[in-house]
């Protein structure tokens, strides 16, 4: 292959959903784009794979909650095969006694179940829900585009919208909002509700995927942030064919406008000189040249490992290497020869997002275990039975169960080789407390520990969000102070992954905003 052939306008590192979104937008802007990925399939952690023959499952992420309609339309995803299996997955807080709480408690019967746990909660739920929605909408304008580089720029539209919404809240809610933001979520839940199960489920919602427990300061904000992000989406759901189908649609869309996607092509080095990026080199030595390199790999790996700290001024390099990446989770995927039996389950519950978090103490304990590099005795988890809405994932009558277990340490005490079996057993035992016939129905299964997630999806330390999503690492501070604008100090190098604003989750927003920023910068020059 001649050198000529490897010259592009834009190189995108990583064919995860954000990388593909960036590639799609850049190619639509008329750029000659190549996407390079180390894996043998597109999608990064948004990928569908077989557990065993005929049993397919989203092997990494399993739900989409914040993919905007706009991205779907801009990139013509339905034309490229994206069909939603469902967009209204409810959360179900599992109760051993069968009194499962459904969130959002939309129906009258849901409120009655809440009231069965606690009369007060039944009455206060709607008020809480409305309040959270209001609060989230205050935050949401900041997630609608590139955040200002330093501080909150109050000349911008997002700030104006926020100020107006804050004003509209009225004195009481405004005061509550200001108390809410810095608090730990446990204290908010304690003063809002009585029922352990409801509090446990909401606490899990706020902390899942982050290195925090309900008592960690800032978790109330994490919850709001998540809800604000969801306001940009179209409801919680997944496409037919699992999350890999989304990635394939994104890849198809990018390829239809000329982008080239090269798999099995691990990038070993980003090449830069004199403060300017010029290309990348693959592990096999192949050189790709482009004036713009967009990395959907986490910012720390991009800057320190792929490029080298020397290409940044010391203060910048220090900020980047200081990015905290502690949060990690494990994934357990099971092939089942039938639906596991949960007491009092209807259609809606089976198709829902099942949460095991009986109370806040259990959630907190799992975080404490993770802090000590230990495995929780009673793990909390989020489960989905994707084959319920998308039967083609498994043979007729059979199912797949996808389990995300948060607060699983990367460096587990004793090493993963020794602790794997124990971990799987604890997970299955815990689920069996709610679905006693589960173990009888397991045909096959796979477990992805954090090191395996790192290895399989190319995510450093198995971190789903490419950097903890805490207040000090969000908005203007994501990925690092002074670098919120997607452009890096190295000219032509952009971040476009979850490590940038607005962060992790299958939203495509970092990818979209990065492309917008790169194109705007080029236009300005």
């Amino acid at each position: 292959m001649s050198d000529e052939a490897l010259q592009y306008d834009v190189i995108v590192i990583g064919a995860g959903h954000n990388g593909l979104v960036s590639a799609g937008y850049m190619a639509r802007a008329g750029k000659k784009v190549v996407v390079l990925d180390a894996a043998e399939a597109v999608g990064g952690a948004a990928r569908t794979a077989e557990i065993s023959p005929d049993y397919q499952v989203s092997s990494g992420a399993h739900l989409i909650s914040c993919l905007p309609k706009q991205i779907e339309r801009d990139l013509k995803l339905s034309k490229h095969g994206l069909i939603w299996a469902t967009k209204d997955v409810v959360s179900v807080a599992l109760d051993q006694g069968g009194k499962h709480i459904v969130i959002p408690a939309g129906r009258k019967s849901d409120i009655e179940t809440l009231a069965a746990h606690s009369k007060r909660d039944g009455e206060t739920w709607r008020r809480f829900e409305a309040r959270i929605k209001n609060f989230a909408s205050i935050l949401s304008p900041f997630l609608a585009g590139v955040v200002p580089e330093t501080g909150l720029d109050f000349s911008g539209n997002s700030a104006t919208a926020t100020t107006l919404r804050l004003e509209k809240l009225g004195p009481e809610d405004r005061r509550e909002f200001l108390r809410f933001v810095p608090a730990n979520f446990a204290s908010i839940l304690d003063r809002s509700f009585e029922g352990d199960l409801l509090k446990g489920a909401l606490a899990l919602d706020a902390t899942i995927g982050h290195h925090s427990g309900p008592n960690t300061p800032g978790t109330a904000f994490s919850f709001l942030y998540k809800k604000a992000l969801e306001l940009h989406g179209q409801g919680v759901g997944y496409p037919i064919g699992g999350l890999g189908a989304l990635s394939e649609a994104l890849a198809g869309s990018a390829e239809s406008v000329g982008a080239r996607i090269r798999l099995d092509s691990p990038v070993m080095e980003i090449i830069a000189g004199a403060g300017r990026v010029s290309g990348v080199r693959l592990a096999d030595g192949t050189l790709f040249k482009a004036p713009i390199v967009m990395s959907s790999v986490d910012p720390k790996t991009t800057c320190i490992d792929l490029l080298g700290a020397r290409h940044f001024e010391t203060s910048v390099a220090k900020h980047i290497s200081g990015i905290r990446m502690q949060g990690s989770a494990a994934k357990v995927n099971l092939a089942l020869e039938g639906l596991p039996t949960f007491e009092n389950f209807t259609d809606r519950e089976y198709g829902g997002r099942l949460l095991i978090a009986p109370d806040m103490a259990t959630v907190e304990r799992s975080f404490i275990a993770a802090k000590r590099n230990e495995l929780a005795l009673d793990p909390v988890m989020e489960m989905v039975i994707p084959s319920y809405h998308d039967p083609r994932l498994a043979p007729m009558g059979h199912h797949v169960l996808s389990v995300t277990v948060p607060n699983v340490p990367y460096d587990v005490e004793g090493g993963w080789d020794l602790r794997r079996e124990e971990f799987v057993k604890r997970v299955i035992d815990t689920i069996s407390q709610y679905a006693p016939d589960l173990s009888d129905k397991i045909i096959a299964g796979e477990i992805l520990t954090p090191p395996e997630i790192e290895q399989k999806f190319g995510m450093k330390r198995g971190h789903w969000h490419q950097g903890d999503m805490s207040f000090d690492q969000l908005l203007s501070f994501r990925p690092a102070p002074g670098m919120a604008g997607y452009a890096t100090p190295v000219e032509g190098l952009f971040f476009c992954g979850a490590g940038t604003h607005p962060g992790g989750g299958i939203s495509g927003l970092p990818g979209k905003y990065a492309a917008t920023a790169a194109l705007a910068l080029e236009k300005a020059q």
Partner: protein
């Protein structure tokens, strides 16, 4: 020429082979008072003595000492006027061992320094000394000093205050070894019209051939000494870098060979006057470094301090480049300026006025015996430089009880005192 091993632990007392300063009559000093022993925990001692402390105290007739970077150094040895006279007409010798010195070595020492300093070091030949400016990400000064290239990948950086933390932070991602060698290298400064002559008679063959800002290894009485044609006191001057155990012998030797030429030990008081006559601003006196400045406005960029020619805004990435590009375009808001004061009065920290508007502050001011008037360094608003005159400052009278009065001052070019 063997090189000094900077890692070697040395005791500070005069070495055994040297003629002991205790041999002289009437001196009752116990050298062990000044010894730092190996079993001492680091940072337990707050009053440090230089390797020259014993021989230097032998020269002292006043017992006036002062502090410099934690070390005790002589403020005045004999008498200010005598010392100044010796420095400008014959030769003066000063102990400058408290200078902060870093050794930077390793495969990527040059690449590391390229990023650390505001200029590329690849163009600096071996045995040449270059002005070194260190900036922070915001383009303000961390510190400045001199960079000695002692080998292809072996550098010595001397600066006025400690910044090891910053140097270590900057080392991430480089194959480089950064160490503080302040305590393991003794330094002397010799200046004055007779300095060259004394060095040559003391054994430093053809140091006169040494061009300004050049350095070389010389053997003085069998001791390896790195001699550089650098200094802060003005005139013909050299700095001598040696092993601490050789330092007192070296000092004695220079006195022995310098005696016929009237050499004298120079204290900190005269050194300060001399550096101001030369117009040199000091970190911590005339400006604050970016980490210590009380507010974000105080620290200055290299352009503000007139160090623009040490900043290479070309293509290489260095700390502060992005910010300095903007600073350069915007121009300096404040600048370091020299003034002469038309009054025999002290003016440190005095406000400077143009038409009753405060435009800056005097940061250092001394009576220059060489010029027979007060000279001062000041930080003033850059746009005030356009004023053709009419500068005045609040000066403090030494004699009148009334205290502060207004005296006219005038802009002056640096160095204030010209040397042949």
């Amino acid at each position: 020429m063997t090189e000094i091993d900077p890692g070697k632990k040395k005791t500070i007392a005069a070495s055994q082979s040297a003629p002991s300063p205790l041999d002289g009559p009437g001196i009752a000093l116990d050298p062990t008072w000044f010894e730092q022993t190996n079993d001492e925990l680091p940072f337990t001692r707050h009053v440090l003595t230089t390797p020259l402390h014993l021989v230097a105290s032998e020269e002292s007739r006043t017992n006036k000492w002062t502090e410099w970077n934690g070390y005790t150094v002589a403020e005045v040895y004999t008498n200010f006027d005598q010392e100044y006279d010796a420095l400008r007409t014959r030769a003066g010798l000063a102990d400058i061992s408290p200078l902060v010195k870093y050794r930077i070595s390793g495969n990527e020492a040059d690449a590391y320094l390229d990023r650390l300093l505001t200029r590329a070091v690849s163009t600096i030949p071996i045995d040449v000394v270059a002005r070194a400016v260190l900036c922070c990400g915001n383009g303000n000064l961390v510190t400045e000093g001199l960079l000695f290239r002692m080998g292809a990948q072996d550098f010595r950086l001397t600066v006025s205050s400690r910044h090891l933390n910053w140097m270590f932070d900057a080392a991430e991602g480089f194959d480089v070894n950064v160490e503080d060698v302040s305590g393991t290298i003794a330094a002397l400064s010799i200046a004055g019209p007779m300095a060259t002559k004394i060095l040559e008679t003391a054994g430093g063959d053809d140091v006169s051939a040494l061009a300004k800002n050049h350095a070389k290894w010389v053997e003085l009485g069998g001791m390896p000494v790195y001699v550089s044609r650098t200094g802060m006191m003005g005139g013909c001057e050299y700095e001598l870098w040696s092993d601490p155990s050789d330092a007192s012998v070296l000092w004695k030797r220079l006195f022995e060979f310098g005696a016929p030429y009237g050499i004298k030990a120079i204290g900190a008081a005269v050194r300060n006057v001399a550096r101001l006559e030369k117009g040199i601003a000091l970190e911590g006196v005339d400006y604050g470094n970016v980490f210590e400045a009380a507010d974000g406005l105080n620290p200055l960029s290299p352009f503000d301090l007139g160090l623009g020619d040490v900043v290479d805004l070309g293509n290489h990435v260095f700390n502060g480049r992005r910010a300095l590009k903007d600073t350069f375009k915007r121009g300096s808001a404040k600048v370091l300026t020299g003034f002469e004061i038309d009054a025999d009065q002290q003016a440190q920290f005095a406000n400077i006025y143009v038409n009753e508007r405060v435009i800056g502050t005097i940061t250092s001011s001394v009576w220059s015996p060489g010029l027979q008037r007060h000279v001062a360094l000041a930080i003033i608003e850059a746009d005030a430089l356009g004023a053709s005159g009419g500068f005045s400052a609040d000066v403090t009278s030494r004699w009148e009880k009334s205290g502060v009065s207004r005296a006219p001052i005038s802009l002056a070019k640096r160095p204030f005192l010209a040397f042949p």
